[in-house]
Symmetry: D2
Subunit: 355 residues, 4 copies
């Protein structure tokens, strides 16, 4: 796909934390050309540089975005766009995303609204790329010319990536997970500094339910005519906020379906072949999973940027006296767990000819 | 017990983080009079104020300690002392504590060395005050005139306090716990700031084993002739370090022995009658356990000082889809989980006439 | 003044960070009885415990406040109140505070609006208690039955406290100050955690101007007929935000009017006799100023709570090769620099019979 | 210079924080080939990967360094090396660096020992590249075949870079600077986390003196026969430690020699032509200085990586009521202020044919 023929895309919710990650990751994208920005607040078409401050450290607002007008979130305002990435907040995403899908656009949404809908796929391409085919039926069912594909909650995403190879090789019956999540997961302005400096907060509204439900949907099946069937496993989550900028650390305990040695499990992770890597999708990291052998890794700060934030790092595999095994994993929440994951979903659908 | 007759006590390992907590908590103690300080490094008897900088924020070095000479850790150097509180590091605590016990002193140790010894009690007075009686046999067995009583690891301590009422009321079969532990748990200088700022570290050497073993010992039984029998439960721990100053937060999932409603469980916590409160020990908090009903409590910063750092705060009780129930607890690691716990042990033994 | 005759007081802006400090400090106050709470947002008279979450760590919402209805900020709604403490935001404080003063109440305001007004005193009682007399003229001039007394910006407050003894003893010609200010200075929700974790921000809107102007006003004079005359000194401020919870640290360089040795200067601080201490006002700390001799003090964490947050700690006095001397000071920004300072102002005016 | 002919270099003090930065920055360097590592502690020639843990987040230990043996710091052990980068601690650097210079090697040192020596140049190439010529005389004077070139303290480095264009254009008479320095400046393990979390510390041993002296030496002159003459200016520094990982923020007030408008000053910074950029040295950033116009920049987190950590970012230029102008600057302390600066010095000397 040469630069001439890049697909015109837009970002909805362009002024928020995840919106900015979308813009950063789309800058210089080989397949997608960012041609429009929209936000739920009215900005009267003023240039992005005027209405939004760049908040991501280590980068500047891409020049290609700075001059784009910030438009209202209506399909009529974004006419030439084929793909729409949505970083909209849940309280407005529902109607707006449906409007865009109805108008014929392919919506890739980071919002929670449609994730558990029976005709909307919830995809992490390394895990359940086959669920993407469901959008054909979605269009029929909803009478839409476009479609909605969602990516998962930022904690569920790296979890399913670590679980999938285990499920495939040994089966997974039970999953206990306790998370240590970064402040960026709360968006911007998000968490007041007075609430988190020298503190840890054992509660994130709705998060535990999302992790428990989304994990089962993604590790489950989709079949034409049948729809989605959740994986036959039990998931129990406890979610905490800690004072880190990016990167969700998760302590996991699993009960596998069959006996597996630690060598078997590490081999399953290291040899896992996933579709994005086989299709060589532009945003796919070379390694979806990296297992580290040091006793104290992964660590949030040190491992979150592995694979440009798209790799999930695993470590500390050891026996669990209650279930089968314990381990620790880490994923970048605003890249792999949000904007990067959504872009990878779009690349997958383009590559499979589904749009 | 009037001020005239206060028991002369000493602190071993007086210059470290826990040593300073001992000094702070013993300052003005109604039963104990701090008469001597000792450290494993040689300080040639120079005054405490000269060899140690005070590191606890919110307080100054007590004047009563500032002028005490820092003596070597030998019984001969601390002749008039009856009770010795040990904050020594594990690598030297073993021999030194035995020397003091042999010399006739009652050693209350925060070190790990003797915690799992078959003739040394590991006590949290609200949990297993009856284990204290074992020191009579310990003296006989070891031929010591004195004795050693240990308090538990800073993560195990609040955990057993929350579990004990459940064990008593319903039985406890399985315990999964994931901790978010404060930096002060690593002592001083302890954790380099470069390692923890904007980071979370999923590893604390030896900690998980301690939590798993010590919990069972404390919730188990001691019987004359029989010794200690671990509780028939399985414990699985995952321990993490986060950027908080004090307070260990723990996400717990338990499988109870019998069915219990959430009301039953909260009632068990709230009505739990423990010996230190009944005996009105000076360091016992009014409430050993406090259950908070807010959805996002306990929090490390906000709840660690409850009961002057001696109360364990619990919250977020809810069903666990894998075991029976999940909840969150918080304990102050250098007060309840270290120096304060050890002083309470001494008060218990004095009160029971065991010394 | 016995408990029977305590003066009924109210807090305006009761739900914010400084509002909560007012409530905390007024709880159990020997002279003032908190009888009413008001907020600029409409809360329909619902109880404080319902409309406000307590955000100050280390304390719980005082029971005496929890049940008070949150009223609108209108004098008619707070009829029996004699003194009103205002923690209102600047954008609404102007009109509301005037309304209360007109209605006959004594307003003690933490807001910036009237600080530089030519007929409103800006007071730190240790510094310019004599300015309080100006409210008699203020009432005449404005035709108010009540009055407005303001306290200074949280950075200017500890600065003038350290400067006053120097001004008195040696004169002060020039003051350069660079601040390292805590996040609580930005109120609640205030500074997003994503903006400050692992960051320092060299800008606080309007702060430098306030420090420069308010310092001169407070160190200046008030004379009947003459009004306020600013002190003949130049002040230059640079203000920074850092990741600390409470406590503003300030690096100061001064040019004194006459030669003074370091001993002279320290003596000036240590022997400074201030009115609140002489009058034994209830909120006055025993020592308004403490000079520490350690080379690395004051430190934000370690010294902010000195004198229950009402003492200013000074240290590191040394020659400045450009002006005369350099030193470092620290003050608690939400206690001494806000609510505590305002309450002390009220105590001063009551004590002087000015209300 | 092709890869074949790269100059063999070594790093002394390879296991510390700055040593690791040297290794990181030398990995893939176009002119220099890292062939040897040495450390002051004895490691018996074991491979670097075995004796040192990689501590820099965002990168892994370069494979080229992992296998190198860690040798003793003796010239005889590093025979084929031409250039030696020293990250040794001050207490051992003096003798060791002299040994290497005597043995014919060009030592580029980050240590403080020789910075103020009358025959050793202290260089920031954008500021005083001409001082490099002094090493010819140094060799003669000391009878060394090699030489020592030092780079400045991490706070002095960005300061002189911002001052040089002002000195050149307007003259600089007085400089007041207050720093907010990152924890990495204290090395590793360096600052205990318990000392800095929720704290700011107004003291860094020896730092203020270094900033005051080194600034004058670098902005001064070197002439053959005359040696170094300090710049005729007064510098007054106050140095603070804050909880940031990397990046020293500095609040500066200057008195210029002639009147200059803000436009003049910004133009002086923006048009400053420096030798490293003209010589196109490999480590020279495109822009030595960047002036940002936003009111709240530079910020530590957001600007430290500008120019791969080699650019100094300036902002907030405004009048100072005491001296002439105030501004804020930021430099990366372990890159520009340490290893990167030292490598740039070596590139400069190679480029000038001085080695």
């Amino acid at each position: 796909m040469d630069a001439q023929s890049r697909i015109p895309v837009a970002v909805l919710g362009a002024t928020g934390m995840v919106g900015q990650r979308f813009i950063e990751l789309l800058s210089g994208h080989p397949w997608f050309e960012l041609v429009a920005l929209a936000a739920s607040d009215s900005h009267g078409g003023r240039p992005y540089a005027e209405v939004s401050r760049w908040r991501l450290p280590g980068s500047e607002m891409p020049a290609s975005a700075a001059g784009l007008p910030v438009l209202p979130c209506r399909p009529g305002a974004l006419l030439d766009v084929k793909i729409v990435f949505s970083a909209l907040p849940g309280k407005v995403a529902g109607d707006i995303e449906a409007d865009f899908a109805r108008a014929g656009m392919a919506v890739f949404s980071n919002a929670k609204n449609y994730r558990m809908a029976p005709d909307v796929p919830l995809i992490v391409p390394e895990v359940n790329a086959d669920h993407a085919a469901s959008i054909v039926q979605q269009r029929k069912l909803r009478g839409w010319r476009g479609s909605i594909v969602t990516n998962a909650n930022c904690s569920a995403t790296p979890l399913v990536m670590a679980l999938k190879p285990l499920q495939q090789a040994f089966g997974v019956r039970k999953v206990m997970v306790t998370t240590l999540q970064a402040i960026s997961g709360a968006g911007y302005p998000g968490l007041p500094s007075y609430d988190i400096l020298d503190n840890a907060i054992p509660f994130i509204g709705g998060e535990e339910e999302k992790v428990e439900q989304e994990t089962r949907k993604m590790l489950g099946t989709w079949e034409e005519g049948q729809g989605f069937t959740g994986a036959p496993m039990v998931v129990s989550a406890q979610c905490n906020r800690v004072a880190t900028r990016e990167g969700h650390l998760e302590c996991v305990s699993v009960e596998l379906g069959t006996h597996a040695s630690e060598e078997d499990i590490i081999a399953a992770w290291e040899h896992y072949k996933a579709e994005p890597q086989q299709l060589q999708l532009p945003s796919a990291p070379e390694h979806a999973l990296v297992y580290r052998t040091e006793p104290d890794r992964p660590q949030t700060l040190r491992d979150r940027d592995t694979g440009r934030g798209m790799t999930v790092t695993i470590g500390r595999l050891r026996p669990c006296p209650i279930l089968s095994h314990k381990f620790v994993l880490l994923g970048h929440n605003t890249i792999r767990g949000a904007a990067g994951g959504s872009i990878l979903n779009a690349e997958l659908c383009v590559s499979k000819g589904l749009l």
